[in-house]
Symmetry: C2
Subunit: 185 residues, 2 copies
């Protein structure tokens, strides 16, 4: 097999940045190609359509979060509070000061009402996220309470990302971190 100058993974990483910053509809294939140092025509060698590219990106985000971030929630040998803190710190690196905020939240509000493919993957992302939080909360709270605390935390995170983007401050996100950790003694 010949060495490929540009890999699918590199394109996915670059395209993710552009989509996160500019949004799905406002990003053109030309934008993406340019960002990858390719001509528009070359770009189609890797992905047959913008929709399929975005779907792959979202699936990629889903598995990245599962393996690199949410998996921390299941390291049961670590105490709940420390485990939550560890996960939040990792999560912060993915959300905090990322240009454009959270691709999952952005794409949900921009496309979830219209694109069933994206919607299915986004549901997975947020469900996995909620379940990870719940798995930690459940060690200190009842099943129902843990579920609601987890949902509440994720929703607050997304709201905080929105505020952070709008008011150009990371403080809102940091406050949510503090509040979430405050749920543990």
């Amino acid at each position: 097999m010949p060495i490929t100058k540009t890999s699918k993974e590199e394109i996915i990483a670059e395209a993710l940045r552009v989509f996160r910053k500019k949004g799905y509809y406002n990003t053109s294939m030309s934008d993406l190609a340019t960002q990858c140092g390719l001509q528009k025509g070359s770009f189609y060698h890797y992905f047959p359509s913008k929709e399929i590219l975005m779907a792959e990106i979202l699936k990629n985000v889903n598995s990245y979060l599962n393996t690199k971030v949410f998996s921390i929630a299941f390291q049961d040998q670590i105490a709940p509070k420390e485990r939550m803190e560890k996960m939040l710190i990792r999560l912060g690196k993915v959300l905090l000061s990322q240009e454009g905020g959270c691709i999952a939240g952005n794409t949900t509000l921009e496309t979830a009402g219209q694109n069933t493919i994206f919607k299915a993957i986004l549901k997975n992302i947020f469900t996995d996220w909620t379940n990870a939080m719940k798995h930690i909360f459940i060690e200190v709270y009842s099943e129902n309470t843990a579920q609601r605390l987890a949902e509440q935390a994720v929703m607050e995170f997304e709201g905080a990302v929105m505020f952070s983007l709008l008011f150009d401050s990371d403080q809102y996100l940091k406050d949510v971190f503090t509040r979430t950790l405050g749920k543990f003694k």
Copy 2:
């Protein structure tokens, strides 16, 4: 002055619905014209550009919320909890089961990083919203706590709208209502 068959206000109301459901970039002037029962050419008689139309819509939302919803927070003769409840019910009618969720949240995530005109108006909307909530909280909590509770509530609302859209359920929003009212004895 001759009677106008279509008024600017009617267009703003219709366009708001379309933008909320389809998003800013994914909505075409043709979509908007059709929804208003006009030809594309006729539509430009009322608004010179899509951007200016959206800006007017957001300003309209801002003043609507201020006069019809957030003003409730300042009806100081009503007890804090009841006042909050009254405002939340009104807010629910604007956010709950509205096709497309919250135009302010949607437009923030879709455009706030790129369009300074929209961003300025959106900041006003969320600041006014936060201040209204704070005005009620401050009767029961300290200045700082009231500020953070207000921000937290608004952020949770926006996160809940996102979940409601994604999982096709109003429950998340209702839970936030309950939690917010729970802050009062």
